[in-house]
């Protein structure tokens, strides 16, 4: 990990006290304040929120020794350590949050850049994350694509990041074209736990997410009703 820059700020707030400093950082990085929670391997509680920029997230780890606010981007990470006296220390690194394998053979992966292009090009769209391990996501692929497209959605599918593209030789997958077999390397999707269960669907409109991810398969009528909400 290459350390690029270390900048230190001084702040004079007190108490739960450092909430002012933390809020300033969150505002600066356009946090949406839509927090989700996960654990860290060290047993800390980690809270994350998307920002107004696709592929950029904010993260807070609360610790006794002080809080840590991080700005996560696909190819860099900025850590702000806020100590108990509210002193803020900034550290920027060219750290790849996602596995470095995504950097090779870029055409085989679906990145945040690809996602941004899709969202810019199409006013209304559905991103369908599927996995050969979850048979429902394979069998319902064509039906969901048809339903989405019949309502005017641009449909794009992405295969889960850890799946093996070499294991798609059977006829079970023949209906899924090569373009829809690119592996998920989008920070934006992965931080929304796109790969924990398949299918997971993401709806966007006018360059923004329209809804929380839809996890699992729904009946045709139910999906139609849901998708009609965003027309």
């Amino acid at each position: 990990m290459q350390l690029l820059m270390v900048v230190t700020f001084f702040a004079h707030a007190s108490g739960e006290k450092c909430s002012n400093e933390i809020n300033k950082l969150l505002q600066k990085h356009q946090s949406k304040g839509e927090w989700t929670q996960l654990s860290s391997t060290d047993g800390d509680i980690v809270k994350r929120s998307p920002t107004s920029n696709i592929g950029e997230w904010v993260q807070i780890i609360n610790r006794k020794s002080g809080d840590k606010v991080s700005i996560i981007k696909p190819d860099s990470m900025t850590d702000y350590t806020v100590d108990t006296s509210c002193m803020v220390k900034k550290e920027v690194s060219s750290h790849h949050f996602l596995n470095a394998k995504f950097e090779k053979n870029k055409k085989d992966f679906f990145s945040d850049q690809d996602l941004k292009l899709k969202m810019k090009k199409n006013k209304l769209g559905l991103i369908y994350v599927w996995s050969p391990k979850f048979i429902y996501s394979v069998k319902e692929f064509s039906a969901i694509k048809k339903t989405a497209e019949s309502l005017g959605y641009s449909f794009h599918a992405v295969m889960a990041a850890d799946d093996n593209p070499e294991k798609l030789n059977s006829s079970s997958f023949s209906h899924i074209s090569k373009d829809f077999r690119r592996r998920n390397a989008s920070l934006e999707l992965l931080l929304q736990k796109s790969d924990l269960h398949s299918p997971t669907m993401f709806i966007y409109k006018n360059n923004k997410w329209s809804a929380k991810p839809l996890v699992g398969v729904f009946t045709k009528k139910a999906l139609e009703q849901e998708l009609k909400k965003y027309l």
């Binding site: 996960l38 654990s39 860290s40 790849h96 394979v138 850890d162 093996n164 924990l196 009946t219």
Partner: protein
């Protein structure tokens, strides 16, 4: 003599205290899989290879501490699920027009030549789950949380009663029905119980069977007309739909008549009946799948259900009228969970699942196998890495597959530093079942 008995009691005590191995690793064929279902004694696994579209039954063979797998070919289809809690049968969805049930002993003996012993057409879905006890078992659907109860009578499976929705109180009603939410939380259960306990089911069944028999006749007639060019598919569909609507109206009228005639229903108003029918229609409709738990699963003892509600996975107990009461909030949107088997006291103590964890050292997320203690609300990380979903054995070992390795882990060691006692080390299988 005294010395001998002392030595024997010492040996006996030592063997009583012997722990199961902390972590057994068995080479496993590399395949596309996510779900591994584990029998309560840890001896059998059901695995779906989605690339080959095949389901295998594996037996874990313990030959004096040397572990291996014995594979059985099966006729089962994707997402086959065991009938908990004893694995006498395995269900196979979307199999020749319904969910077929196979006897595990037949699968072991006859492998892919085994034949189904029961076929269910009303409840036929992937990702269904099954829980049971000495009185029978319940199958719960994925999309609408509809459930069907079964009994095993003289070795044969028999359906009991009608399809019923689990957790109707959790339904986030669509806008046109939202005004019924408070009625649903207060009175739905009362009317539902009276209807379920009355003879209406049988009487209504007869009315509906007669009505739908006419629909079948129309459909068959239509088929002939289309073949001879005297009718079109569109006309045919219209006729069938018209007749089906008549059946629905007939159902409502009959139900109202039956309710009026029943003295037990004297305190049920006409409005209650209307609301009950409206909600009933919604709960069984396609639309309902958007308004309830995501990734639902029924516990092995069929007393709990878990799934994603709102932003996180929650565990509910199923009470009277199949109403659900939240017991735990895992505070994270996890994978589908798997429940532990109930203890001798009837407690379901844990769920296991996959989730993401942030590694502060590498500054990236990792996939982990976790256990959530439903009593203490504590979470434990059992393993790190890209693995299949995890499952419990009855004695609370955790089994999962990570790439080409089957892992059998002493969960107690990971959680409490104590170990699971080995009560059956000499037998075949991956260790021992807990006291039954």
């Amino acid at each position: 003599m005294i010395l001998l008995s002392f030595v024997l009691s010492f040996i006996f005590a030592a063997s009583e205290n012997k722990c199961i191995p902390e972590h057994i690793k068995i080479p496993f064929p590399d395949m596309n899989l996510e779900y591994v279902r584990v029998s309560p004694d840890g001896k059998h696994l059901i695995v779906t290879d989605t690339e080959k579209d095949k389901v295998y039954l594996y037996e874990v063979v313990n030959d004096g501490g040397k572990y291996s797998l014995r594979k059985y070919e099966t006729p089962l289809r994707n997402e086959a699920y065991p009938v908990e809690p004893d694995w006498e049968f395995i269900s196979s969805p979307y199999h020749d027009g319904g969910t077929q049930y196979f006897r595990v002993s037949d699968l072991i003996q006859l492998q892919d030549k085994a034949t189904s012993v029961y076929k269910e057409t009303a409840l036929n879905e992937f990702y269904h789950s099954i829980g049971g006890d000495k009185d029978g078992f319940t199958v719960m659907s994925w999309t609408r949380l509809q459930s069907q109860k079964y009994k095993v009578v003289e070795d044969k499976i028999k359906a009991e009663g009608e399809l019923e929705t689990i957790c109707p109180n959790l339904m986030d009603l669509p806008e046109n029905l939202r005004h019924l939410k408070s009625w649903m939380l207060s009175d739905y259960q009362k009317v539902d119980e009276i209807v379920s306990n009355s003879d209406f089911g049988g009487a209504l069944d007869m009315v509906m069977k007669a009505c739908y028999a006419k629909v079948t006749v129309i459909a068959e007639g239509c088929g002939k007309l289309i073949k001879t060019g005297k009718g079109t598919i569109v006309e045919c569909k219209e006729n069938i739909n018209r007749r089906s609507d008549i059946c629905l109206e007939q159902y409502v009228t009959s139900l109202k008549k039956l309710i009026k005639a029943d003295t037990a229903m004297s305190n049920v108003t006409e409005e209650d009946v209307d609301n009950y029918i409206k909600l009933g229609n919604f709960l069984t409709s396609d639309e309902a799948s958007m308004h309830i738990l995501i990734n639902p699963i029924l516990s092995n003892d069929r007393k709990h259900v878990a799934g994603v509600y709102g932003d996180s996975t929650k565990v509910y107990s199923i009470g009277a009228g199949r109403y659900c009461t939240q017991e735990n909030d895992l505070k994270s949107r996890t994978s589908k969970v798997s429940f532990s088997y109930p203890t001798v006291d009837g407690d379901t103590k844990y769920v296991t699942y996959s989730d993401l964890e942030y590694n502060e050292e590498t500054k990236s997320d990792v996939k982990v196998v976790k256990v959530y203690d439903l009593k203490s609300n504590k979470t434990y990380t059992i393993a790190t890495g890209d693995s299949s979903y995890s499952n419990f054995t009855k004695d609370e070992r955790i089994i999962y597959v990570e790439s080409d390795t089957l892992n059998i882990v002493d969960a107690h060691k990971k959680m409490y530093g104590t170990c699971i006692k080995d009560t059956q080390s000499s037998s075949s299988g991956a260790g021992s079942p807990a006291s039954q």
